[in-house]
Subunit: 180 residues, 2 copies
């Protein structure tokens, strides 16, 4: 990037405006408690979670605060520990469309954590929301320091993306064929 080129907004800046409430290790118990409700962590042992928590930071967002903004460059994923988050995406006329709402145990932002491309949608806290953040740098550290856990996380990410791609492709084909 040329030096005088304006930098894209980074969603790390959104995090700076939110309350950092410490390392993930302080919340290992809470995160482990979510395992049963979380598609992402369903096959992780308590020990896996304890190691992973060392590489995560925990934040608190108040109702109405933006956690991730569509179009920003992004480099982290997050796990919702408590609260409620609306997923919004701009329509063709620029209006915010509500896509879905998600709660504890759900993960968000995996795509940008991996590929560094701009955020696909906006994530807005609608209640006081506590979430743990895993950055791409820390994901790379896990792969180096704990290769087995690193592979486990990567396999999980591939499986989730694969499932979503199947669902999205099936919906797209349905629309393309003029289905209702």
């Amino acid at each position: 990037m040329a030096q005088d080129e304006p930098e894209l907004a980074s969603d790390q800046e959104n995090l700076l405006h939110l309350e950092n409430i410490g390392k993930g290790t302080a919340l290992t118990g809470e995160i482990s408690g979510l395992v049963g409700r979380s598609q992402f962590f369903a096959e992780f042992s308590r020990e896996d979670i304890a190691v992973l928590a060392e590489y995560m930071d925990v934040y608190r967002a108040q109702p109405g605060e933006i956690i991730i903004r569509e179009g920003d460059t992004g480099d982290f994923m997050l796990l919702i520990i408590e609260g409620d988050v609306d997923i919004l995406k701009k329509g063709v006329r620029g209006e915010q469309q509500h896509m879905t709402s998600v709660g504890p145990g759900m993960t968000l932002g995996e795509m940008s954590m991996i590929d560094g491309e701009p955020r696909f949608a906006t994530c807005l806290a609608t209640r006081t929301t506590v979430f743990a953040v895993l950055t791409r740098d820390n994901m790379a550290k896990i792969i180096l320091d704990h290769p087995s856990l690193g592979s486990k996380i990567l396999v999980k990410l591939v499986t989730m993306l694969s499932l979503r791609l199947r669902q999205t492709s099936a919906k797209l084909l349905h629309y393309m064929e003029g289905g209702r």
Copy 2:
């Protein structure tokens, strides 16, 4: 699965009908030669390819032969080394629809290799096609035997799926908003 329940067709059976022309190691040179043309292997060193090739088998399909059949259970991905493959998917009325054609350097079947779900589309050789196969079992062995290479392959898979999911989601939103 109950013993008297009919087993789903597995696409390993399709492979049995094709000509097995040996271990990937015999074709390390050819595979390395594809690196520049392959989205998948773009960041792999020649040494990475040499190790990976040990875990792959190479097959040859004649024009008109099916390599992967939509709906079969699947557990391998493949890299096209030479030839040409049509990707076909059944429409709502059961007719085969041509989705795209792919050639050397392209990978196919990653989703089922990872998640074991039924094949999303049919892959049909339209010319004599040579391809290298990586099964889920061998992917698991790579992760154990060569964790660093295993992570590299997984990161690549996540990145590719993430890109495809972005593209497919964008197309779906376009259709859902009534775009042309």
